[in-house]
Symmetry: C2
Subunit: 386 residues, 2 copies
């Protein structure tokens, strides 16, 4: 038996700098908002999944599942932390989705949370490297800006992608973010400013990078039966996919296309019965400007090598088909790693309900794409408007 | 629809000191052993859950789900880390169980792993404190020996439990461990040695404490249909329960009985259709000697206050009903936190197959009890012999 799964409610803190806030206080704020938004009674919640990546390394706090559940007033529920690096909370959504879909649970709460600001840059780099195999590439000194610098250089070499095309991603997403009250960066930026910003990992420059961010976002998943009884409007989860891909650069056939994204997207389109041409709005994992180009190609929005030209000629801005990252994306909304996956679902749900500050007109199909490690854990969710 | 869930295979590294081994190499060793033991073809595995508590804090490595899956040769599976402090891997078993039971997956691999030896004592204490709410009790200086010291003093005060009765737990478990080749401690210990060992958190002494341990253990869960086709002998999972309990000492009505254990046990007995009197063998969470007494009372093996006298008169040794911790328990086998839950299931499965070095004669029903934090996350599993 297979149950139709719905997003009954979403909630989010603002993304940015939240000094003096604990992980659990951010998580509880987002969770309470999602529960209130859902209208689902608390005693229907059987599972609480807290998506979090480096809470242990950055703050020393683990056991977030039981702590957040207890602080919400939930007793005798199954509460755990789920970790898949930067895809932690969307991976948790996939598990919760499967439990509801198979009728093992009628309602599941997923909260993503992270605290990253205020630490010395070296500490942050070390923490992020927890998602690289320390026995091989971590030991050799690979970092995430380093990985994406390799990808960008190779994409430029293979396809003639230009510096301007890549910078245009940051410009577009900063413009969207300036109109999203939840976003960390609220000011537009010019092509020239991106290109002139200090180098980080050549050819990547500072404004090609997402910031360190604090925040939490939450999603309540429920069965169609419970959604009909309590929820209005509810967004249907047409596909929820999590796959693993290669965990080391040396395992890639070609680093400008990521098996995890390609395979997750193929499965998600098949499950939902739609294709990339049907998607109206997508929130994808633009941890660096070049990532949006690579991911939008791997998701089938553009052919390989055509992401750059399309983005520069503004094919993915509002009122165009498909609109990518109208939240501002990780580049502008921010990247509280463990919270990002739920944050993307929050944004797409708002779009499909017609309640987004950067509303895509008549958005019917939305997609989220969230990656952990070097595309080692990839989720794709496809959501359908009420 | 509800599918009968079976433990198709188990595997384990030895528990003890494994310097120079990475988390992933230990996890892969245990996982390969479990997969080989199960006889289930690799391509049937749809999910990999890695139970781990402080891998981030102690080693800097996260993303263990995709890394372990990739190193096993698995692609396009859903692979995540699950964390619930010292109950991480048994909590992951509960999620895997629910996915198989609801027919969402036909086979799930759960691996628990931890590396704790070799670190300075302060670093280890800090890491373990990640399972205490740092904003309240952690900030006030509570540690796990401190918590269990409070519990022991209160149990002695309320019930007249004696120093000798508590020490008898360590003596019994060390004797069992001396005959378990997987155990960290291989030498028996006397009542006098326990009582004369240095104080840690009064009235707890050194030999009342489990050691720091490295190790991994793994479990393959599968549907009855797949078990019939591939597995012999297979052990049925009659109950798999995870509940959250109070996360702070100040939330307890009485610290000598733990709601998490009481509620998880009640649900598990109900699901399995058996009671504590039916259990032949139990592996329970004796992180400190006093914990075995408290837990055995909360699990219904003894009435409140009667755990101490029963253990001193050797009611729970081999050939007695019920035999508790014939593996040697956490006190003697060791406590590689994230691996402990799967390690307990490994031990009970061996008992129910009649293959254990400390075999309980005619063992038909086995129970495991695993706790995270101050009984903030508790699992109870009930297993039935083939």
């Amino acid at each position: 038996m297979s149950v139709s799964v719905h997003v009954a409610g979403v909630g989010s803190t603002s993304f940015g700098s939240h000094p003096n806030r604990t992980l659990q206080s951010l998580a509880v704020e987002a969770a309470r908002a999602a529960l209130a938004d859902s209208n689902i009674p608390m005693d229907r919640i059987g599972c609480v999944f807290v998506g979090n990546f480096v809470g242990g390394i950055m703050t020393g706090q683990e056991l977030l599942g039981p702590i957040v559940a207890a602080d919400l007033g939930l007793a005798n529920v199954a509460a755990v932390k789920v970790e898949a690096a930067c895809a932690s909370s969307s991976a948790a959504v996939r598990i919760g989705h499967d439990l509801v879909r198979a009728d093992a649970e009628e309602a599941v709460l997923v909260v993503g949370v992270e605290r990253l600001t205020g630490a010395p840059r070296e500490a942050l780099t070390t923490a992020m490297t927890a998602a690289i195999d320390l026995g091989s590439e971590g030991h050799a000194g690979l970092t995430f800006p380093g990985f994406w610098g390799l990808v960008m250089a190779r994409h430029m070499h293979l396809y003639g992608t230009t510096r301007e095309q890549v910078a245009a991603v940051a410009v577009k997403n900063r413009r969207f973010g300036a109109n999203n009250p939840l976003a960390q960066f609220q000011k537009p930026i010019s092509l020239e400013e991106v290109i002139a910003s200090p180098p980080v990992a050549d050819p990547i420059r500072r404004f090609d990078c997402c910031p360190a961010t604090d925040g939490a976002a939450a999603v309540v998943l429920t069965s169609e039966a419970l959604a009909r009884r309590f929820v209005s409007p509810s967004v249907r989860v047409a596909a929820s996919v999590l796959v693993n891909g290669p965990v080391r650069v040396t395992d890639y056939r070609e680093i400008t296309s990521h098996d995890g994204t390609v395979n997750a997207a193929r499965r998600a389109y098949q499950a939902a019965g739609v294709g990339p041409q049907d998607i109206d709005v997508a929130e994808l994992h633009d941890c660096f400007s070049i990532a949006e180009i690579v991911d939008s190609e791997d998701l089938g929005f553009f052919a390989a090598g055509e992401g750059g030209p399309n983005i520069l000629r503004e094919a993915t801005k509002r009122n165009s088909k498909v609109v990518i990252n109208p939240s501002g994306g990780l580049l502008s909304k921010g990247h509280p790693t463990g919270a990002t996956g739920c944050g993307q679902i929050y944004e797409v749900v708002m779009q499909l309900r017609g309640q987004h500050p950067n509303q895509v007109p008549q958005a019917r199909w939305g997609l989220t794409h969230n990656g952990g490690g070097t595309a080692a854990a990839v989720t794709v969710h496809i959501l359908q408007s009420p």
